[in-house]
Every structure is written in C-alpha cells, then in structure tokens.
C-alpha cells in the first residue's frame, strides 16, 4: 500500500488571477492517492509566507471541488507575502498541500503576459458569439473510494455502465461540474458509417480552446449547456504555456453516444 506524507497527496497547487472576481486556487491530487471519500477542501491563506499561526480559512469548505475562488484582494505591495494552501479532510486524515504563491509558478512578467493572453481569449469565449459554446467541465476522479465494480486483479472497472461510479471505478465518478466555456474552432464532418471491426459508428471530432485553468486531462468530460451533449476530452495540447502553467489549451472533443451512463451524472 502506498503511504503519503502530508504534502504528497497534492500533485500541484496553482494560484491565478486570470478571471474577474478574485484569485483562483486550483489543485490536482496525486493519482495514486486512494483515501475513501468524501473529500472536503478548505482554502487557507497566510499573509506572511506560511508562518505558523498565520493560517486562516477562506470561505466555506468545498466538497469534491477542483478550485476555490478567493474574492478578497490580499496583495497590496510589490513583495509577495501572501501564500495559500489547501486543507484536505478525508474520513481517514487531514492533509495539507504545499504552499502556493499568489503568482503561482510564473514570474511577474510572465504572469502579466499570461493575463493578457487569457483576457484576449476570454473576450472571445465569454461573448455570445457563434463559435462560443457555454458548458461545464466534469473532472474525472482519480482518487477516492474504490467502487464495488472494480476488478480485484487490475483495479479497472468491470462495468463501465455502473451508475455508482459512472464507469470510472471511483465512487462518484467525477468532481462537481464547473462552468467552462469552449471556443469552438473547428468541427469535422459527421458521417454515420460502418467500420470493419467497430460496427456502426458516428465519429465526430470537435476542436476548440479553453482558457487557462483548471487543468484538463484526457477523459475529463465537457458538457454543452445548450444541447446537454457530453464529450470526452480526447486529446489536449497546451498551445500557450509558461513555466508549465497552461495558459491556453487546445482540445479535441468527441461526443459520447446518448445511451452512455455519463448522461445520468447530475450537473447541479
């Protein structure tokens, strides 16, 4: 069994100010972390480099979330003193993430450039134009309580139609839906055809761009608000990245057939 130090459960924590309304702190858990759920995340802030005794909770705890927005401006000077961390409470233990600085992994100049790039893209993504698709992102759970449908030898699910884990093998299947608009850049043609070893298939590919964070992974799901069609994120390319912080992400999405269990996942 893998054991974790308290800070190792978080793969990385990022802080960004890319969107209006405050700073966003997003995180990614280590894929091997398998504590049973539910996961309660609490954002904590320290105004002095994480000095003991300076940590204070920000807002309400979030259950099964992927990011938290801190609406309060905390940085007034040039010197960066404000740092964040995430407190993760599971039924087994309480974990803390490493300290994340307000600028994340970016230098100030990089951050300013990143903000300009994202702002430009967000202008396109948030405006109701022909090629902007409002939707929601469902991040696939990689951690949590193993579902009863998993194969005891491989750990993968034996039932991809299972309503408890939505075919992921982890109870709950996906984290809470978060609003994420897609800038639709290209739609390949659709043609219902018969392929030799696949039977009848209807392969469509939708290409688009997402702005900034949260970080995407293949097999996450994007749901179109207008049609409720759900798409697998099939491939990801960070077309703009600075110091490993994704600024603009280009994705290839593929629609999931209507009978799939993922259509039962509640979005609210």
């Amino acid at each position: 069994m893998t054991t974790f130090n308290k800070t190792e459960v978080f793969k990385r924590v990022l802080v960004d100010y890319f969107q209006a309304g405050g700073g966003r702190v997003s995180w990614e858990l280590d894929p091997h972390f398998m504590d049973p759920g539910p996961y309660i995340f609490t954002l904590q802030v320290s105004t002095n480099h994480g000095e003991p005794g300076t940590w204070a909770a920000v807002g309400d705890p979030v259950e099964d979330g992927v990011y938290v927005i801190d609406p309060v401006q905390r940085q007034y000077t040039i010197r960066t003193r404000v740092v964040y961390r995430i407190e993760l409470t599971t039924p087994s233990y309480v974990y803390y993430s490493p300290i994340a600085q307000v600028y994340g992994l970016l230098t100030e100049r990089q951050w300013l450039l990143a903000r300009a790039i994202v702002r430009k893209l967000l202008l396109q993504v948030t405006r109701p134009t022909l090629n902007t698709l409002p939707g929601k992102l469902l991040k696939r759970k990689l951690n949590g309580t193993a579902c009863s449908c998993i194969d005891e030898y491989t750990g993968a699910t034996l039932n991809t139609s299972h309503i408890t884990c939505y075919g992921t093998g982890i109870v709950g299947g996906y984290w809470q839906a978060v609003d994420t608009n897609l800038l639709d850049t290209a739609i390949d043609g659709s043609h219902v055809k018969v392929e030799n070893n696949k039977g009848t298939i209807d392969e469509q590919v939708l290409k688009g761009k997402f702005a900034g964070l949260p970080m995407l992974e293949t097999r996450d799901i994007w749901v179109s608000d207008s049609s409720d069609i759900r798409y697998f994120i099939h491939s990801i390319k960070h077309v703009s990245e600075m110091n490993q912080v994704p600024i603009v992400t280009e994705v290839e999405l593929r629609p999931i057939p209507a009978g799939d269990v993922i259509y039962s996942f509640p979005l609210t």
């Binding site: 030898y153 991809t160 030799n196 070893n197 039977g199 298939i201 392969e203 097999r219 057939p257």
Partner: protein, 211 residues
Amino acid sequence: MADESSSPESGWLDFDFSEDLINICNNGNRRLLITGLLRKFLITYFSDDDHFEATALAGRVWRDDPSSPLLIESALTWTPKIAGKRPAILIKAGELKLETPTIGGMQQVTAAGTAEFMKMVTGNHLILVITPTEPETEALAAEAYRAIVQCEALLRRNLNLLRVRVTGVSAPQLSEEYNQMVVVGFGLEYGWSDNWSIEYDTEVLTTITLL
C-alpha cells in the same frame, strides 16, 4: 434457470433451433445464416443473467431496445440509432473455402444413373467484444466464447454441421473511438458439405455418323 419439465430441451439455455433448421432445409447452409444464428445464440445467452458464469456481469443483459446495456449485432449492419454503443459484441463473417474432395467433385453414380456431387465448405466468423476497459472486455469475451465452446457439439448436431469450433481468442487490442476501447476477438470455424445430384436426360454422345 428454466423449469426443466417445461419442454424436453429446457435447462441451462433454452435455444430453439426449429426455424434455423427450416431455413437450412429450404435454402441450404449459407454464411448469412451462420451470422444470424450466432447473433441469435448470443442474444439468447445474454438475455438472462442466470446463464452467466461470471457473477460480475450480473444485470448486463441484452434487451431488444436502444437502451440495452449491451449491443449484439453483425459488424457490418448499419444501425444508426445505436451507433457507437458500447459495450458491444460484434459478429463479423469471414472467408468461405470450398474444397472438392473427389475427382470432378463426383461422389458416386447410382444404379439409376444419377450422378451425385459434393463440395466441402469451411468458413469462419470473428466475434469481437468491445468495451472501454480491459477487465470488462475480458469478462464479456470469456463469457461469450465459453458459452459457444460449451455448445459446440449441440450446434454441430442440431444444425447438421460437420465442424463447429472456437479456434482461439486474440490478445486485447486498443481501438480509438469516442473513448479508448479495448477489443478482444475470437474465431469460430465451421464446415458443412453441400450435396447435389444431376439426372441426365440423354446419354453422352460417343459416335457421330455423317450422312
């Protein structure tokens, strides 16, 4: 489990061969008939989870509607209503080989002068099991091929075939679809003999006399 007293063929798997036999009697053995027969057999098997050996597959029964949790279909059938549905068991017809085991294909000439002919026909079908994960594909494939293996003798006898056998199970392969799929295929080989006779109205000409 069906009530054993309900009919002589009731038991673990109730499979009605009567229509297939009528088809064979009317049309002879055909490759499409084998495709349909395999689909019918797999549908019968996967329609009731009492048939399943693997308890993990409980509830994964085939239903005759688009919301069925399992697709069983000929691989080359155009089914737009349920395009891309997974998990799926697809049946793909393979090559037929016709062999002539005797000189001129003739088996014998009867006392009445009727010539009887015969061709040996061997063919194969590939059954593909496709799901998004390896364990699910392996479990479904094992269930399907073991069902056929256990009924090989029954199928051979009732359909008057000379050979029915599962020849092998492929390694799991990845296939790119809307999600990454895992495919396992297994081959089924079968054979029959086609027999027919010719009654000649006239004798073969041996002498020609020019006047």
